[in-house]
Symmetry: C2
Subunit: 343 residues, 2 copies
């Protein structure tokens, strides 16, 4: 099978590496094209492609499977370039992080082709380029498949085959559903990290702050290191959804600020912190997806688990301290602000 | 030397482990006390203390160095408990995450003692308790020393010795400076992560979102797993500073939202994303603290480095695409919203 990978950056090269690693089994030959010839050469050097092509047209000639792994906004140009030469039986899969715009471009530029199917492998790292490629990048990752209204069964099966071959777990979504979800769970964290790091970096105190920064700060802001071209393409192809989630996040921060500012809300604040920590721990320990309690008892247990947590041992003690000490802290705070006024 | 550790959780036990590892050199004997006897027993079991005491008074009897490593709000109670029995030559070091309140409690409860010095080891992990203790937890970490107006030179030296012994890098600050800085670089990331995770968790789409969550989301929200008692104590002892930074963060998110919402600001958006990514990469590669350019040329180079980055190679190309394509996207967007109105 002949596979053309257009765009041999981190994602394209990681796919190529994995496909070629199992080439004896999959009988795959990989041709790589990149807008920057040295990037394509580098992909060949790390073993991600068998050979390189000088043009997108040359790369897709006779290809059974065409993978569009360029930056998101460049997919449109790739589709323009290959539209005149792509075979009617070729399967075309993109790997972009948003889908509504991509499907619109496909409608516009390949209006009759039945081989296109969108894909979004939910994996990555901050480093870019073929040097960072990793055959195991997609192992265990989610791989969202977004068919169009014209996608043939053969093309869908090819997308499933590709996900399975690279070790990813597929799920189907439509484009608008996909874009709404990833805005929340992927783009929002990136924007939260970017805004946080940019704010700290812009502070006059940054020289001191940067010395004090520990692992927590580095983890929280890691996504601020996202390739800016990728971040930009995501923002402008998913404006409405990202703005929706930015608004919700701003609202959540305003609520949290109120709970911290008002000493009378100390108990509410503590309950929120405790519940968030409890739920985070459940999430990180694998509680994901939709729970389907098998009987009423299990349902009740699942529903009341945070209450159980709060009612047991030291959490209960802390809660009663929070409530009990609150009054003393209110008094102290009142005394301090009176003192300040007197000074 | 006799060291009493009051509070044998993660921090107390990690200090004990390290001190006892080098005990042949440091000639240290460590007595542990914890409000929960089983936690103190566990600390002894993992080797963090030589023996345990039943009361704080018993623990500090004859101690040369007293380390207060309890949760922040419990430090006040510990000071009350030990005040009547603590020797005039004992050095007392706390490890709390905020300092202004602690120093106020010391003024109130140990008004004449010259042995108190505040310390804040900027290290930690999400796990808590002696089971998570690690003798290398402080290796290479910042260790802020906050003396009071009465702190003796001997006490300051003891704080420096402790930092050095556990492998940390000391720096001096006063309490209000410390609390302002850590609000920005430590508490703000924790609150950002907490608000983000709580918002996502509360969404009706959480079952789907949690399935799609990848490493980026987990890293950005990792601090949402912070021990809720610790998060609470920090928030209520550092209200004003955390609110200040929450306000700045909300402002930064509002600016970012505007840049995403307005297609005419695409170039501004791209420049911000590029600069943030560039600066993040410099930070993560060790560019911290205050730069002191040795000559004018070096100063100029440092000042213009982001401009150089933006002017070179593919970043320049991307910038010109952003500017060039902006018009086409504006047209597309206009057409789409006209279409929507017609439907």
């Amino acid at each position: 099978m002949r596979v053309a990978i257009l765009g041999t950056g981190l994602i394209g090269s990681s796919l190529g590496l994995r496909l070629r690693r199992d080439a004896a089994k999959t009988k795959v030959e990989v041709i790589g094209y990149d807008r920057y010839p040295d990037v394509a050469q580098q992909a060949r050097k790390v073993g991600a492609v068998d050979s390189t092509a000088h043009t997108p047209q040359q790369a897709v000639e006779g290809a059974d499977l065409i993978i569009l792994a360029t930056p998101l906004l460049a997919i449109r140009k790739m589709l323009e370039e290959i539209a005149p030469v792509v075979g009617p039986d070729a399967v075309i899969i993109d790997t972009g992080s948003t889908k509504a715009d991509v499907l619109r471009w496909v409608d516009e530029l390949l209006p009759a082709h039945e081989g296109f199917v969108g894909a979004h492998p939910m994996a990555g790292k901050t480093q870019t380029g073929p040097e960072a490629a990793d055959a195991d990048l997609f192992e265990g990752a989610r791989w969202v498949i977004v068919p169009t209204t014209r996608t043939s069964e053969r093309a869908t099966n090819a997308a499933l085959w590709l996900a399975e071959t690279v070790g990813a777990k597929s799920m189907f979504m439509d484009a608008s559903e996909h874009d709404a979800y990833v805005a929340a769970i992927s783009h929002m964290p990136m924007l939260a990290a970017t805004a946080l790091f940019a704010m700290e970096r812009a502070s006059d105190a940054w020289p001191e702050l940067s010395l004090l920064a520990a692992g927590g700060f580095r983890d929280t802001t890691r996504l601020a290191g996202t390739d800016p071209a990728m971040a930009f393409d995501i923002a402008v192809t998913n404006r409405e959804h990202t703005i929706h989630w930015l608004n919700r996040y701003i609202g959540a921060l305003i609520d949290l600020r109120e709970r911290i500012a008002d000493p009378e809300l100390e108990e509410v604040l503590f309950r929120q912190l405790a519940e968030t920590s409890f739920e985070y721990s459940a999430f990180i320990n694998g509680k994901v997806g939709r729970e389907e309690p098998t009987d009423t008892q299990a349902g009740a247990a699942a529903a009341f688990s945070f209450q159980d947590f709060l009612a047991g041992g030291w959490m209960r003690e802390k809660l009663s301290e929070v409530t009990g000490d609150s009054e003393r802290r209110l008094e102290e705070q009142g005394r301090r602000s009176r003192e300040r006024r007197e000074v």
